[in-house]
């Protein structure tokens, strides 16, 4: 399903031991045609076992900065991958009706497990061309105003709203400021909170700052195991705290950005487990699990009246920062 899954593996720095083992396995496979085949295949098997064991060990104790790198992994499934796998009859809807279409936020209507929904998500792109098209997932005011438009459509037709969050943050540019980036984000959060239909947000990679909050203010907020959600990207945090953006690793640690931290602070409701070695090593499984989690949460919310849905969401966000361990 993922074109990218067949490409060359790309290893993160801390995955070096695994890369080395995989390299030796590949070498052995290459010379495997000669004599002594029995020994080689036994060795391959041993190395494969060791590689997967090493991967498990590394991923059991990822640091916040390592998680950040996994969350940003170039092969990590993006919103468009979730869209393709989970939403049928997807019909993209474009533009904010005021100024422009902003492809950093993709949205539209479609079917999720048979039922009509509105889907909104940030897309970072995965080739130079698509990254530019989607502005690396950094939306301008038009993107948030489109999100508001789609939410009001959902409200009018009583459709649940599914949001996929993956952004380093809203785009900081002259035009974005000129056209009211702050106001656009505030209105999008406002619209999310006002919905009488259920909304569910999943942080699939990076949840960066107000640019993420704008579409992540939902009845249920979930995060993938190795995704991050931050007040400002680790680089921006480091440059604010130490005037030194190279200290991003320190910032990621100090800022408590992991799904596990956020669950502990009662900021999110649920963590969705990733396959060993991260979502990019088995995209189909993780996308399926996300679909199941969304569906389970939608079922829980389906019996509620619009008023109850609003109340549920408000109660949850009014409690933010009071229920800290």
């Amino acid at each position: 399903m993922l074109e990218r899954s067949g490409q060359m593996k790309s290893y993160l720095e801390f995955e070096d031991p695994v890369a080395e083992l995989d390299g030796r396995i590949a070498e052995l496979r290459a010379i495997g045609d000669d004599d002594d085949r029995g020994n080689i295949s036994a060795e391959i098997e041993r190395l494969e076992k060791k590689a997967s064991q090493t991967l498990v060990e590394i991923y059991q104790k990822l640091t916040p900065w390592q998680k950040t790198q996994v969350a940003r992994h170039p092969m990590r499934p993006h919103f468009v991958d979730y869209l393709k796998a989970l939403i049928s009859d997807f019909t993209p809807l474009a533009g904010d009706r005021n100024y422009a279409e902003d492809a950093a936020i993709v949205g539209g209507i479609g079917r999720f497990k048979g039922a009509s929904v509105v889907v909104i998500g940030q897309e970072k792109g995965n080739t130079t061309e698509t990254r530019l098209k989607h502005n690396f997932g950094m939306a301008r005011p038009e993107g948030y105003r489109k999100a508001v438009r789609l939410m009001s459509l959902a409200e009018r037709f009583s459709l649940p709203v599914l949001c996929f969050v993956d952004t380093a943050g809203a785009y900081p540019g002259i035009g974005a400021e000129e056209r009211g980036q702050a106001e656009a984000i505030a209105r999008s959060t406002d619209a999310s909170l006002a919905l009488g239909v259920p909304n569910i947000a999943v942080v699939i990679g990076e949840g960066g700052s107000g640019g993420a909050v704008a579409i992540a203010t939902a009845n249920r907020v979930m995060m993938l195991e190795h995704s991050i959600y931050t007040v400002a990207s680790p680089e921006a945090s480091a440059s604010i705290l130490w005037r030194d953006s190279t200290r991003a690793a320190d910032a990621a640690t100090a800022m408590k950005v992991t799904a596990q931290d956020l669950k502990r602070f009662h900021v999110i409701d649920q963590i969705i487990t990733e396959p060993t070695g991260g979502a990019h090593r088995d995209a189909a499984t993780v996308i399926g699990d996300v679909g199941d989690a969304i569906s389970a949460n939608l079922n829980e919310l389906s019996a509620m009246s619009p008023e109850e849905i609003r109340r549920d969401r408000r109660r949850k966000f009014l409690a933010m920062g009071t229920l800290v361990d």
Binding site: I174, A182, A186, T189, G210, V213, V231, G321, V324
Partner: protein, 311 residues
């Protein structure tokens, strides 16, 4: 209202810094023109430099006193919040920074909320104190804004927000970010009750504060020259690698781009706020009360207003 007289102008002391006993600190220099102004004259002029019209930051208590009839207001208690859940430290521990900020401002956190009357109409108002860790929006500040709005909702009063903030409080991480949706819930409660919510954007207001309650007012006012934006100028310059145009993200620029309703000089602010509140709740101002505001020995608010408010 004893505390007002007891703790006279604590904010003004902050403005002057700790060495306030030395005579040179009785004079304040205009950041724009270098003009020297005697501190008493500055206070009497609402912290606006008389010659240049430059708006200096106004201490939080003085801000509320300048708004309410006779300068009188009752402070609203704000909830206490968990302390330092992140166990945060950068160069210093967050708890130490907090301690310093409290000592410096005499305030528990960055937001002060008061209730009083404005030309006879009961209103609730909150001020963000930029001297307290840059007016940053942490859990305490968020809880205070919410408490103020909920108090306004309970007593059915308009709510006026004097915003000033560098944005989120980094040391509280994601819990700071969550104050954006949290405060937005409270704005919605005011809206549903049909209560006016007026925002006054003062210098500077940026980041998560502008991207939540500070941009959701029924009427948006800005003080002249105030820096207002989502991303800070430094971040934008680093991203686009070019110099920003003059006046970028200033109050007048936002007005030109349709992001604020009015740019109002401080001397006209009280009368403008009164007029808007009274118009929106369909009541008549009771002007007698306004005459005895003790603080501003300032120009009579109403005189030069319409032209100036448009400047």
């Amino acid at each position: 209202m004893n505390w007002i007289t007891n703790r006279l102008r604590p904010g003004f002391r902050n403005l002057l810094g700790p060495k306030r006993d030395t005579p040179e600190n009785l004079w304040v220099k205009c950041p724009e023109t270098g003009e020297m102004v005697f501190h008493r004259d500055l206070v009497a002029n609402l912290y606006v430099i008389p010659g240049s019209g430059y708006h200096l930051r106004m201490p939080a208590e003085d801000r509320l006193r300048s708004l309410f009839d006779e300068g009188l207001f009752e402070q609203i208690q704000t909830p206490s919040v968990p302390v330092d859940p992140l166990k945060f430290r950068d160069e210093r521990r967050y708890v130490d920074r907090l301690k310093d900020a409290r000592a410096k401002t005499g305030r528990e956190d960055a937001v002060l909320v008061g209730v009083g009357t404005l030309d006879g109409l009961k209103v609730t108002a909150a001020v963000q104190d930029f001297d307290f860790l840059g007016g940053s929006l942490g859990m305490a500040a968020g809880a205070a804004v919410v408490a103020g709005m909920q108090s306004a909702a309970r007593h059915r009063t308009p709510f006026i927000m004097f915003a000033a903030s560098g944005g989120a409080r980094m040391q509280e991480g994601i819990l700071s970010l969550m104050q954006m949706p949290k405060t937005t819930v409270a704005v919605q409660e005011l809206r549903e009750l049909g209560l006016p919510y007026i925002v006054v954007l003062t210098h500077p207001t940026t980041g998560g504060v502008t991207a939540s309650y500070a941009m959701l007012g029924d009427v948006q006012i800005a003080e002249p020259g105030a820096l207002i934006g989502f991303a800070g100028p430094r971040v934008i310059e680093q991203t686009i690698r070019e110099k920003l145009p003059p006046g970028f993200q200033r109050a007048e620029y936002l007005h030109e781009h349709g992001m604020v309703d009015l740019v109002v000089p401080r001397h006209n602010l009280r009368s403008t706020l009164s007029r808007i509140c009274h118009l929106l709740v369909k009541s008549e101002p009771v002007r007698a009360a306004a005459a005895s505001v003790p603080m501003p020995e300032a120009p009579e608010p109403d005189t030069a207003e319409p032209a100036a408010a448009d400047a």
